[in-house]
């Protein structure tokens, strides 16, 4: 356990830039853009306020600050959606980071020969690989989620301040949002995300462990070329395999499994979301694991990680 802890810590030291700085900079950049937009809008609005007087009723907020219960619920849903949206944005950036992290995870140290240093220590190959899987499935998403939620909350505060400047008191509307509930749900969904990302993580790490050069070429070429062959077989009528089925069930799962909310593809029609909170409903989301499809992907991911461990142990010829 202690070895695993230090191995994960080691991954974080090495990839601090990707795991921590990239999401933080993304959030900071979006916040800056938001602030610039607001300031720009204020100045423009001020300049043209004579021609276009602001019509308050458009915003569904009466001047005396009274809202109907339904309006309040809508507003709350909107605010929750802001938190979800900003988290999703940061998670999307993280997905790109983790994609390249996985591709390099078992290749970079073979390339710069630092593997010889790691291999001079009493560490089993499986622990090394598992620590990297853990970093990709847990460490990176948790950091990105926290940054995303903070980013969403800052956006809400920014919006509220803007309204205050214009004389609308909307602090009580903030009370209609469910930041804690949303935060809890998003974090509770990370294990589901991790499970559904396993096919992609396994595939990328397998390529990383066995490629003698350019793992990215293997990672992209094999799924895309095989898809092309399936498509061609379909065209000439040799195989009944549908190319679009192959794309969504094989190619996409090997390459795009890191995207935020990656489990939606398994969700059935039983989901009837009304509010943003419904989207995050743990029971409904985790119910997607009832689909055998999801488990086939997870098992394939685990199998590919196992093969990657074998390669890690025995591939030392450089």
């Amino acid at each position: 356990m202690k070895t695993l802890y230090w191995l994960v810590k080691r991954e974080f030291w090495e990839h601090r830039g990707g795991f921590l700085r990239a999401p933080a900079i993304t959030a900071a950049a979006f916040l800056t853009i938001a602030i610039m937009t607001i300031i720009g809008g204020e100045i423009m609005g001020h300049r043209f306020s004579a021609q276009f007087p602001l019509n308050d009723s458009n915003m569904g907020i009466t001047t005396d600050g009274q809202m109907s219960a339904q309006d309040l619920q809508h507003a709350g849903t909107f605010l929750d959606a802001v938190i979800c949206g900003s988290t999703a944005t940061v998670l999307a950036i993280m997905a790109i980071v983790v994609f390249f992290y996985c591709l390099g995870s078992l290749y970079d140290d073979r390339k710069d020969r630092s593997i010889l240093f790691w291999e001079s220590l009493p560490i089993s190959s499986w622990k090394t690989v598992v620590s990297k899987v853990f970093s990709a499935t847990v460490v990176a998403p948790v950091i990105a989620t926290i940054i995303g939620i903070v980013f969403g909350l800052l956006l809400l505060i920014l919006g509220t301040l803007l309204c205050e400047i214009h004389g609308f008191s909307v602090w009580h509307v903030l009370g209609a949002a469910h930041p804690i509930h949303v935060t809890f749900d998003i974090i509770a969904l990370i294990p589901l995300y991790a499970l559904c990302a396993l096919p992609t993580i396994g595939w990328l790490m397998l390529c990383s462990a066995c490629a003698r050069s350019m793992p990215i070429l293997w990672a992209l070429l094999v799924p895309l070329a095989s898809n092309l062959i399936v498509w061609w077989l379909h065209i000439i009528g040799l195989a009944q395999l549908s190319p679009s089925w192959y794309f969504s069930h094989v190619t996409a799962r090997l390459l795009f499994g890191l995207r935020p909310a990656n489990w939606f593809e398994f969700s059935s029609d039983s989901l009837h979301p009304v509010t943003a909170l419904d989207h995050l409903g743990l029971v409904d989301n985790y119910a997607t694991l009832a689909a055998p499809d999801a488990w086939i992907g997870i098992l394939a991911g685990v199998a590919m990680i196992a093969v990657a461990i074998w390669f890690r142990r025995w591939r030392h010829d450089n």
Binding site: K9, R10, S114, L116, E119, S120, P122, H316
Partner: protein, 285 residues
């Protein structure tokens, strides 16, 4: 029996080359063994087999373990410096110490820090900011603080200047080596380690062509400087090698009768590098 390494019938074949060809040897504890051979002779393959980094045919026993199946346990007792450039470039001195201290059960942090205190390295410094010599200082500090039974050095001083090279071997001898430890070292800079070795192994084309203790080297091998008139007599004694210096011939003999050699001229113990060149004649031809 206190053999640290026992190899019998050790073979390793790559697609179209034989890296190790039915090699057998034994290394007892408390020795410093020089494994010397031309490029591509199988040195690194032999070390990789010992470290459990490659599969092989035959039997190999390192500290009573099979390096293939018990590698994780074995590496608690075995240290390894491949060459100077293998420390990860992103790591900081403090991170490297923290990591090894928490991963390795036999690491002595105080010893490592004491060694580093005598260098210019600072805790916050990253490997990528260091010169080759500083990297090897850090690596040596980490390795010397580990109480291991076997230390494997594969070209440890490649690309270092002479100050760092001397310091490297001096530190090893003075602060690390003792009767319970065994060191195996491969290098091309034979002259520098000649004086610290206790045993010498020559490897050529995957075979051990010479395996001797340094003390026995002088009894077995002799170098005689012979004037031109006695050269023909000397040639009849089957010299290993002959070279010309200042109009005289220098003959290298393996196992010749010392009293007969004395009649030819002055006898010297050959240097390891002369012996090496003579033994490896025709390797690249």
């Amino acid at each position: 029996m206190n053999a640290v390494i026992t190899a019998s019938g050790l073979s390793k074949r790559y697609k179209n080359t034989v890296a190790l060809d039915d090699v057998s040897f034994q290394i007892p504890a408390g020795r410093i063994v020089g494994l010397i051979g031309p490029n591509g002779a199988g040195k690194t393959t032999a070390l990789k087999a010992i470290l459990g980094l490659t599969d092989f045919q035959g039997r190999l026993d390192v500290l009573g373990m099979d390096p293939r199946s018990q590698r994780d346990k074995l590496m608690e007792q075995v240290c390894f410096i491949a060459d100077v450039a293998v420390l990860p470039r992103w790591i900081r001195v403090s991170e490297a110490i923290d990591f090894v201290a928490n991963i390795h059960p036999r690491f002595n942090r105080a010893k490592c820090e004491a060694f580093l205190a005598r260098t210019k390295l600072t805790p916050g410094q990253r490997v990528r900011q260091m010169s080759k010599g500083m990297i090897v200082q850090l690596h040596l500090a980490l390795v010397m603080a580990i109480d291991a039974k076997l230390l494997v050095l594969d070209e440890p001083t490649l690309g270092l200047d002479i100050l760092y090279r001397k310091q490297f071997y001096q530190s090893l001898l003075e602060e690390y080596f003792d009767d319970n430890k065994t060191i195996i070292v491969t290098t091309h800079q034979v002259e520098e380690i000649e004086n610290i070795l206790t045993d010498l192994m020559f490897i050529r084309d995957g075979k051990i062509v010479l395996n001797t203790e340094m003390e026995a080297l002088g009894d077995r091998f002799a170098e005689v400087m012979v004037s031109a008139d006695k050269a023909a007599t000397a040639r009849q004694l089957n010299p290993l090698d002959e070279r010309q210096v200042f109009g005289k011939s220098i003959f290298l003999f393996d196992g010749a009768d010392q009293s007969r050699l004395a009649e030819l001229g002055e006898i010297r113990r050959p240097s390891v590098s002369d012996l090496f060149v003579a033994t490896m004649k025709g390797t690249y031809a």
